[in-house]
């Protein structure tokens, strides 16, 4: 990593120069967005299907959450297995409004034909029955109190994951839970949350989740082909903005401090930095980014249910970032895009089966095995992930540090081990 705080001439340099990947990234993202728009059904020649535009849009959201994961794990050294939970919470927050508002329009529509004009209570009862009929309830649970208000639910996209991360992080960091303990604790948090949402009386429709999110209320006349491109633009913008934000954060002294925390937390403490506050800041900020990514993802996916929050999802997130290359922002983006698109390709049944004569390898079944094993291989043999290829291309020599590779939790730690 060459993000030096100092430049040769002691002059303040723009972010783009301090962090050259920003310009490259924004250019690539811009071209990609333009290309997809031109090829889309909604705004262009229709060379790629609407569902594929949605897949690409969703992939951009996954890249954004991977970016958050990279910031918290690759830079700050906190292996969080809970960021997909924040992602899901963002999705739930926006999904509640989408589902409420759309159901309300339908109910109002159907009641308009009745003999008497509907009362507010009748409308509310009608919506509640429509939404909660599947879990045998007909009243709004308290968590839906603000579902009618788009601004409030949008605020929740940020506030709910942010507050959860703040409270959880505060508890965890102040008791100095670190390393694998912290990972397992975050996994437990995720498990608790998903188990809670699986309950029918959680107020969020249990394992049915929220559905029909792809239909924007009041915009029934707009075809999905158009809506999908809108969301694609939104996702691309969010990813670009997220990238610039993350680059800005990691390029300055803050980036130095969090990387230092990753490598030797105790030493940073003796430098006088309140390590817990820094970790909490990064944890909460990345949870918020994850929440925003989720809020963009689920309207494209159309449905959200507690399975999406299960611990395994967060593990896959770690897999993406590890395969892409930790500790470099573009690595996270490459990893998430590469693995999730490949995963879509393999599990979608497009990949050709391999006939071994005695056994036929069907990728729908065996892709997960391949992914799991390749993850092991990457951890063992290519800790820098795909991003490591960039280093080779740039031909940047890495310093000889007791033969250790560069990477998170290896720098100073490795040195310590060598001295033992």
């Amino acid at each position: 990593m060459s993000e030096s705080t100092l430049s040769a001439g002691h002059v303040r340099t723009p972010l783009a120069l301090r962090f050259p990947s920003v310009l490259v990234f924004l250019a690539v993202l811009g071209l990609f967005t333009l290309g997809v728009t031109i090829l889309s059904e909604g705004f262009g020649i229709g060379a790629i299907s609407t569902s594929f535009v949605k897949t690409l849009g969703k992939t951009l959201c996954l890249c954004l959450v991977a970016l958050a994961m990279d910031l918290v794990w690759g830079y700050c050294g906190i292996l969080s297995l809970g960021h997909m939970a924040f992602f899901g919470l963002g999705g739930y927050a926006i999904g509640m409004w989408l589902m409420y508002e759309r159901t309300r329009l339908i109910v109002v529509d159907s009641l308009a034909a009745s003999e008497l004009p509907p009362t507010a209570q009748e409308i509310s009862d009608g919506i509640a029955t429509q939404i909660f009929g599947v879990v045998g309830a007909s009243e709004f649970p308290p968590v839906w109190a603000f579902a009618h208000s788009l601004p409030i639910q949008l605020a929740f996209v940020v506030l709910v994951p942010g507050l959860l991360a703040l409270v959880f992080g505060w508890l965890a960091f102040r008791s100095r839970v670190t390393g694998v303990y912290l990972s397992i604790l975050t996994q437990a948090m995720t498990l608790a949350l998903s188990l809670y949402l699986f309950q029918n009386d959680s107020g969020l429709r249990g394992n049915n989740g929220l559905s029909g999110l792809q239909n924007l209320p009041g915009l029934d006349a707009v075809p999905q082909a158009t809506v999908s491109v809108w969301f694609f633009w939104g996702s691309a913008f969010a990813l670009g903005a997220g990238y610039v934000l993350c680059a800005w954060i990691v390029s300055g002294k803050f980036g130095s401090v969090i990387r230092a925390i990753r490598d030797d937390e105790a030493r940073v403490r003796f430098l006088g930095y309140p390590v817990e506050a820094f970790k909490l800041f990064v944890f909460t900020l990345t949870a918020i980014i994850a929440g925003i990514a989720g809020a963009l993802y689920y309207p494209q996916a159309g449905i959200i249910n507690p399975t999406e929050i299960a611990p395994i999802a967060s593990i896959y997130l770690a897999v993406w970032v590890a395969i892409g290359g930790r500790g470099r922002l573009y690595g996270a983006v490459i990893g998430a895009a590469f693995v999730s698109l490949l995963s879509t390709w393999f599990t979608g049944g497009q990949a050709p089966d391999i006939n071994l004569g005695f056994y036929r390898i069907q990728w729908v079944d065996w892709w997960t095995v391949l992914l799991g094993l390749s993850f092991v291989l990457v951890t063992l043999f290519a800790p820098k992930g795909i991003g490591g290829l960039v280093d080779i291309i740039i031909d940047r020599t890495t310093p000889n540090r007791h033969g250790a590779d560069l990477g998170p939790d290896q720098g100073a730690l490795r040195e310590r081990e060598a001295d033992k």
Partner: protein, 246 residues
Amino acid sequence: MSTLLEVSGVSVSFDGFKAINNLSFQIAERELRAVIGPNGAGKTTFMDIITGKTKPDEGRVNYGDKGVSLLSMSESRIAQAGVGRKFQRPTVFEDQSVADNLMMALKKARGPFSVLTFRPDEDDHAKIVELAEEIGLSGALHRKSGELSHGQKQWLEIGMLLAQEPRLLLVDEPAAGMTPTEREHTTDILREAARTRAVVVVEHDMEFVRRLDCKVTVLHEGSVLAEGSIDHVTQNEKVIDVYLGR
């Protein structure tokens, strides 16, 4: 000279083993002090207590003009209050450049938000160049600190401590693993530092301590065995017993 740090009646034990036993210690401002003692005398634990890493079972640790207690403060608060510590093994952030390491150590607001919005100005850059010269790393400012030699890392760490502008500097075995010329340089740096602040050097090596030419405190089994000039303590019967063994 007024007292900067006063440790009195401090004890700490790990699983029944008393690492520090009713230890009392004082250091004045701008004083250079060497602490020596055999292995297991409690030198590192003593530093851990002052810097907040270990909480003692009993005793008081007061610091500064107002004599605030350090016991209720976190490590980072203690560091911010002006207590700097150099570890036995050089611990610099190897993944980052020498300049970045020094920039992090520079005395500035430490909160996450001020750090986030911090951008170095001309003075900061100048200060870093100055520090680099002081520790002999001017030419290596933009090298990754992981590439430095062992001795250079020690100096970088001392440089980081100086950048913190502490009032009390705790240095754990600074000369370990250094060549004789490097040692000499280190002595100079420490004596220079003690002109403007209190410095406590923990060291094994009697020759190095002699060269520091300062008051010496001998620790043994967690408490002070003797205190005085180097000649005074080396003639002390008990000290000879402890060092030569019986």
